[in-house]
């Protein structure tokens, strides 16, 4: 399925984004993820790669699925996983992000998994702590493990990434998932399209190495992969698009629009889905949907990333 990766280890201490990773490094993580799938499918789903290590999940923004995915991944590798309920509490008390980081750092974790609502917050934190940091999503910037799990899912269905046409559809402007995917898919040689209303396109998007479409018909034409993005509720009513029904009419993925893609095209969504907003329930739960599989790949990719970074920890 895959040529043997050239690298024998992952040469970074943190995973802050897809940007800056070479195609070899991405392939390395994907190959490692394949191994992790096997571990997860055993009855005894345990390895001890992270035995004795402390992993803290520091989520400044609520996310049940990403947090549980990282938690399960850590536990399957034998780490002691702790979820910090920072949400907004310490921020409200006026504590700065760096204060929080220093406090946590003093507890000597080995790996910090961080989600934050502000772009760049995870970079800031990574500069101040002594352990490995994984970006679990920072504002509209990056969400590297999501892009990796998407790539793994695509690869398992299509056998490759190179030369596939991938249409990323919806709210590109606010989407870290879109940014990480655009970088990763380009690095591995896919043809990347973005599809959505112009108000939801970032300025300068045409310089990201993508083709830009403002209709689903043209954007999905001949696509191998249709990747839908979530539209945040606060952006649905007048600020970026006039209404849910208008958005669904033009950009919601239904059977008709999906008909423009290749007959064997797969449908993806990072979740959580707004059924009836960006995706028709019939498509979301239909035969071409690989959305549930993405979740499984999520655990595998996070195991792979945790293990790859753990190789750099002191005494490893």
């Amino acid at each position: 399925m895959t040529a043997a990766p050239i690298l024998t280890h992952f040469p970074h201490r943190h995973l802050l984004g897809i940007e800056g990773l070479s195609p070899f490094e991405i392939e390395f993580l994907l190959a490692k993820s394949e191994e992790a799938i096997d571990v997860s499918r055993q009855v005894a789903k345990r390895k001890d790669a992270l035995a004795g290590r402390t992993q803290i999940n520091l989520f400044f923004e609520n996310s049940t699925r990403t947090q549980s995915s990282f938690e399960i991944a850590g536990k399957r590798l034998g780490a002691d996983v702790m979820n910090m309920a920072v949400a907004q509490s310490s921020v409200k008390k006026g504590e700065t992000l760096i204060d929080t980081a220093m406090t946590l750092n003093a507890m000597r974790p080995d790996i910090l998994v961080v989600r934050h609502h502000a772009a760049g917050a995870v970079h800031l934190l990574a500069r101040k702590v002594g352990c490995s940091v994984i970006n679990a999503g920072d504002g509209a910037h990056e969400h590297p493990t999501q892009a990796l799990l998407d790539a793994l899912t695509i690869k398992r269905h299509k056998g490759r990434i190179a030369r596939l046409t991938v249409a990323i559809c919806g709210d590109i402007l606010h989407s870290r998932v879109a940014r990480s995917n655009i970088i990763l898919l380009n690095a591995l040689g896919a043809r990347v399209r973005v599809v959505g209303p112009s108000t939801l396109m970032p300025s300068g998007i045409e310089r990201f190495g993508v083709e830009v479409f403002n209709t689903m018909k043209a954007g999905l034409d001949g696509a191998d992969v249709v990747m839908m993005l979530r539209l945040q509720r606060e952006r649905m009513s007048g600020s970026y698009v006039p209404s849910v029904r208008e958005y669904f009419r033009y950009f919601g993925l239904d059977e008709e629009k999906l008909g423009h893609a290749k007959p064997d095209a797969i449908v993806m969504h990072p979740g959580p889905m707004n059924r009836g907003v960006e995706i028709d329930p019939a498509v979301a739960d239909g035969p071409r949907s690989v959305i549930a599989e993405q979740v499984e790949m999520g655990v595998a990719v996070r195991m792979a990333v945790l293990e790859a970074l753990a190789a750099h920890l002191p005494n490893a």
Binding site: A118, H123, S203, F208
Partner: protein, 441 residues
């Protein structure tokens, strides 16, 4: 030493600076010569002033290889006093100013309380004369509390010593208010200064465009600036007011200013040293010390700013000195405070443009000193006989590296951390008194 001491400088021995290159844009002078200072006043400065002989018992300064310029008049300085002394006091700001060759700080009214009352202008001037090493020329708020609603007492504030009127960091968003202020200020020949940024377009945190999109940050488009500037220039045309755009940052704004000048309007504009020497790429991975308003723009815009300065279309170069304690910058980029300190690096950074052959020294000093002094009616910005002896002696070729920890400012939020500079202030004089010395100066 403070201004009060400096002003009672009578009794100081005269000073003679010999064989320095004297650059005085107020007279179009750039020649090697001497400067004679007596009683805190310049008696003569130029190539032939020694024809009448040396003054007796003068302190003699060998200016060989050095450049003598009028002290800088920094037209946009935020100070934390009153209200945020932990960030900066007049004393600490003035120490930074003196080290940077700034002899007059034009202060912004965004303090706590806002400088919107004659008593507060008076307070500021007294504090300055008691604690500041350099001169302080306060701008007062144009609206009460800088809230953009009710006009302040332009007449009384002018009498108290306010040199111009502005809401500082806040743009005057209300067009009717701006129009009325321009008309009213005309009766007092007062200068109205606006931060040209349309607030509804300025909710972003860096220049709109590819860089912002890649970093996942919200952008401030150039139209935020040009829409506000166009509006103001139209209002000035209609009201015949006196107007200054505090800072411009993009090429289109230069064109708007050019058009207004061609129509003969009484308008001027400034640019910050950051926008002349840095661009959005310098933000790198979220360096919050480079977060400012207006945001750093593209390299094309920076080049347009430099060209406009060289062409005389930009009148003032300012530091936009804005001290922020580390607390305000210890946040993710989007949530960090705007602003950077700049008094100490204004001249060294500006000299990059001279060394790079982009702007002549005389044109630069005009924008750093002569032009703002004239526009604000200050006794500064010149080395002509009879002027206050506010001057700077600098070694234009000395290389050095900025150590952030050594900044005199109480806050250290400089965008020039570890920057290489060529050119250093060796001595700063305010009213004839030495307020800063380094090396052989």
């Amino acid at each position: 030493m403070t201004i009060r001491e400096a002003i009672s400088a009578t009794g100081l021995p005269p000073m003679l600076i010999e064989r320095a290159r004297i650059v005085d844009p107020s007279r179009g002078l750039d020649a090697v010569g001497s400067v004679i200072i007596e009683n805190g006043v310049i008696r003569a400065a130029g190539p032939e002033v020694l024809n009448q002989g040396h003054p007796e018992a003068a302190e003699i300064v060998d200016g060989t290889g050095l450049v003598c310029i009028p002290g800088l008049v920094d037209g946009r300085v935020f100070v934390g006093e009153p209200g945020a002394e932990h960030r900066e006091t007049l004393a600490t700001a003035s120490a930074a100013a003196a080290a940077g060759g700034v002899t007059t700080m034009v202060t912004m009214p965004n303090t706590d309380p806002v400088i919107d009352d004659p008593a507060l202008v008076d307070f500021l001037r007294r504090r300055a004369s008691a604690t500041s090493r350099v001169k302080v020329a306060p701008m007062a708020a144009l609206t009460r509390g800088a809230e953009g609603k009710e006009m302040t007492e332009i007449g009384l504030l002018s009498e108290a010593g306010a040199v111009a009127f502005t809401d500082g960091k806040a743009a005057i968003a209300n067009a009717a208010l701006m129009r009325r202020a321009l008309i009213y200020a005309r009766d007092f020949e007062a200068l109205i200064v606006n931060h040209v940024e349309e607030p509804t377009l300025a909710s972003g945190v860096m220049n709109a465009g590819e860089r912002a999109s890649r970093l996942g940050l919200t952008g401030v488009p150039r139209e935020a600036e040009t829409i506000m500037l166009d509006r103001d220039l139209r209002l000035v045309a209609a009201t015949k007011g006196r107007y200054h755009a505090a800072q411009i940052s993009c090429a289109d704004a230069v064109e708007a200013m050019r058009g207004a000048r061609e129509r003969g309007l009484d308008v001027s504009c400034g640019v910050s040293i950051a926008h002349l020497t840095l661009n959005e790429i310098d933000i790198g991975t979220y360096r919050s010390f480079l977060k400012m308003s207006p945001p750093l723009r593209s390299e094309e815009d920076r080049v347009a700013m430099v060209q406009a300065l060289a062409d005389g279309l930009i009148d003032w170069v300012v530091s936009s000195h804005d001290p922020q304690d580390s607390e305000m910058k210890r946040h993710p980029f989007a949530e960090a405070a705007d602003g950077a300190v700049g008094l100490e690096t204004l001249l060294p950074a500006a000299l990059r443009l001279v060394h790079g052959g982009e702007v002549g020294l005389s044109a630069l000093i005009r924008a750093l000193s002569t032009a703002p002094a004239r526009r604000l009616g200050l006794n500064a910005g010149t080395l002509s006989a009879g002027a206050s002896a506010d001057l700077v002696l600098l070694d234009i070729d000395e290389p050095w590296v900025l150590d952030r920890a050594k900044l005199a400012s109480r806050s250290k939020n400089t965008p020039f951390e570890d920057a290489r500079f060529t050119g250093r202030v060796l001595r700063t004089l305010v009213a004839g008194r030495t307020v800063y010395r380094y090396g052989r100066g």
